[in-house]
């Protein structure tokens, strides 16, 4: 049976992980390669690396980092953050990334998704969407890490993007991100039912029951979180045991 996936997300800046990641038994907690290996050992099903480097020099560092990660990691990983061209995608895939995620660039120029799918196949194209509801409760997609509101309604956008070529959707509720109060269940479910590709839910994980809710009620295929894993608030193995006991298929 297909397992629900648990995906830790690592923010990368200039080739190092950011946010004070607290991991026991690691000599260099800031080294993404060592951290990636540790997560794979601990039972992560997949990893996402989000590059928040602003400079061009930093982008070169990213490709080199992806190459190092690919050498040691025996589970799949996705790389995202500021990707806007076919050439960048090609460099990251050739360096060994399994998938790339695109967000703002696809909103600005949706045909990028068609081009990416044509060159590389939709299986390696993840559409990342940052969404937030307006006062009427209608969800819209945001650009630039959530700073700029677009006219794209979340459900219309994910439908269009997956028809164009995205093979997976990573949906983050900005209203829930960082709150630790649970995932955005209604909109995640609506996204999952709107598209025929897998959906990764993100934003709001604080405890194990939140993951159960987003799989059962939110109909997500995978759930992504950062700080609860980095700070050891949730152990992946105990999370999976909990989910398994509650009838969720997980890889153990």
């Amino acid at each position: 049976m297909l397992a629900k996936r648990i995906i830790p997300c690592l923010d990368i800046k200039d080739g190092q992980t950011v946010k004070g990641i607290q991991f026991e038994n690691l000599r260099h907690a800031g080294d993404p390669v060592e951290l990636a290996e540790a997560y794979a050992r601990l039972g992560a099903d997949e990893l996402v690396f989000l590059d928040i480097t602003a400079t061009q020099e930093g982008r070169g560092t990213l490709v080199e980092l992806v190459r190092r990660i690919a050498k040691v990691l025996n589970i799949p990983f996705t790389v995202g953050g500021g990707i806007r061209s076919i050439a960048e995608v090609e460099a990251l895939l050739q360096a060994g990334a399994d998938k790339v995620s695109v967000n703002s660039a696809a909103l600005r120029r949706p045909v990028l998704l068609d081009e990416m799918a044509k060159y590389f196949g939709n299986q390696c194209i993840v559409l990342a969407v940052d969404g937030r509801p307006n006062e009427q409760g209608e969800w819209f997609a945001y650009l630039n890490g959530g700073r700029i509101l677009t006219e794209n309604r979340v459900l219309d956008w994910v439908r269009e993007a997956t028809e164009r070529g995205a093979g997976e959707v990573l949906f983050t509720s900005m209203a829930h991100d960082g709150t630790k109060g649970g995932f955005a269940l209604d909109i995640t479910r609506a996204v999952s039912e709107a598209v025929s590709v897998p959906v990764i839910a993100s934003g709001g994980a604080g405890e194990a029951s939140h993951f159960l809710d987003v799989f059962k009620t939110g109909k997500a295929d995978a759930a992504l979180a950062a700080s609860v894993f980095h700070f050891g608030e949730i152990q992946i193995s105990s999370l999976k045991n909990y989910l398994f006991e509650h009838g969720i298929s997980v890889r153990k």
Binding site: L2, G121, P198
Partner: protein, 198 residues
């Protein structure tokens, strides 16, 4: 003579296979030279891409004939498995016909399946040298929209909507639909088993 040859063609993701072999302490050459492929002790035929483009590329270089005639252990991965089959629904493509089975697309509409089939799924009813020492119901990583039907050549089954062939074998030809190079310890084991086939 090289120990392992990975067939070079226009369907990629060769890096991760090379890395997995390196983790197992092996080196491989990536080549489209028929002579080097024929002489290798093992041949790996990986692939992520589209079937008709890949088949045309192989035919233009005569690699379709080279592959069919190989005598040593050969391992097809993902699209590699599909190209070993008779025919693929992906752009109505005649394939290599090593396995007497057709490749179909998962039906997203009728069964409300998410397509591509992405993620970790279980191996069932497996047998043969590839799966030596692999525990029943082990999880492996899949990324695909097309699948080979479960027929007599199937040596492992996975269920997604219905059972399909997770692995096929006939004579010296082995093939897996999942990605052993991305399937954690189970995948490492399966690759290592392939390298040890006598």
């Amino acid at each position: 003579m090289s120990e392992i040859a990975i067939i070079k063609y226009n369907a990629g993701n060769v890096q991760s296979v090379l890395h997995a072999l390196e983790r197992l302490g092996k080196t491989a050459i990536w080549t489209d030279d028929p002579e080097k492929i024929r002489q290798a002790e093992r041949v790996i035929f990986p692939g992520v891409g589209e079937a008709s483009t890949a088949m045309r590329h192989l035919q233009e270089r005569g690699l379709d004939q080279v592959i069919r005639a190989l005598q040593q252990p050969v391992l097809g991965i993902c699209l590699g498995l599909q190209l070993f089959c008779r025919h693929s629904e992906e752009n109505d493509t005649a394939c290599l016909g090593i396995f007497d089975v057709d490749v179909r697309k998962f039906n997203a509409g009728a069964e409300r399946l998410k397509v591509p089939h992405i993620g970790w799924n279980t191996l069932q009813d497996f047998r043969g040298p590839l799966f030596e020492g692999v525990p029943e119901s082990s999880f492996v990583y899949f990324v695909h929209s097309y699948f080979a039907e479960k027929t007599v050549d199937a040596v492992a089954t996975t269920e997604y909507g219905k059972p399909f062939a997770a692995a096929l074998q006939r004579d010296n030809f082995y093939a897996v639909q999942f990605h052993p190079e991305k399937s954690g310890e189970t995948g490492d084991r399966i690759l290592d088993n392939f390298l040890k086939i006598k």
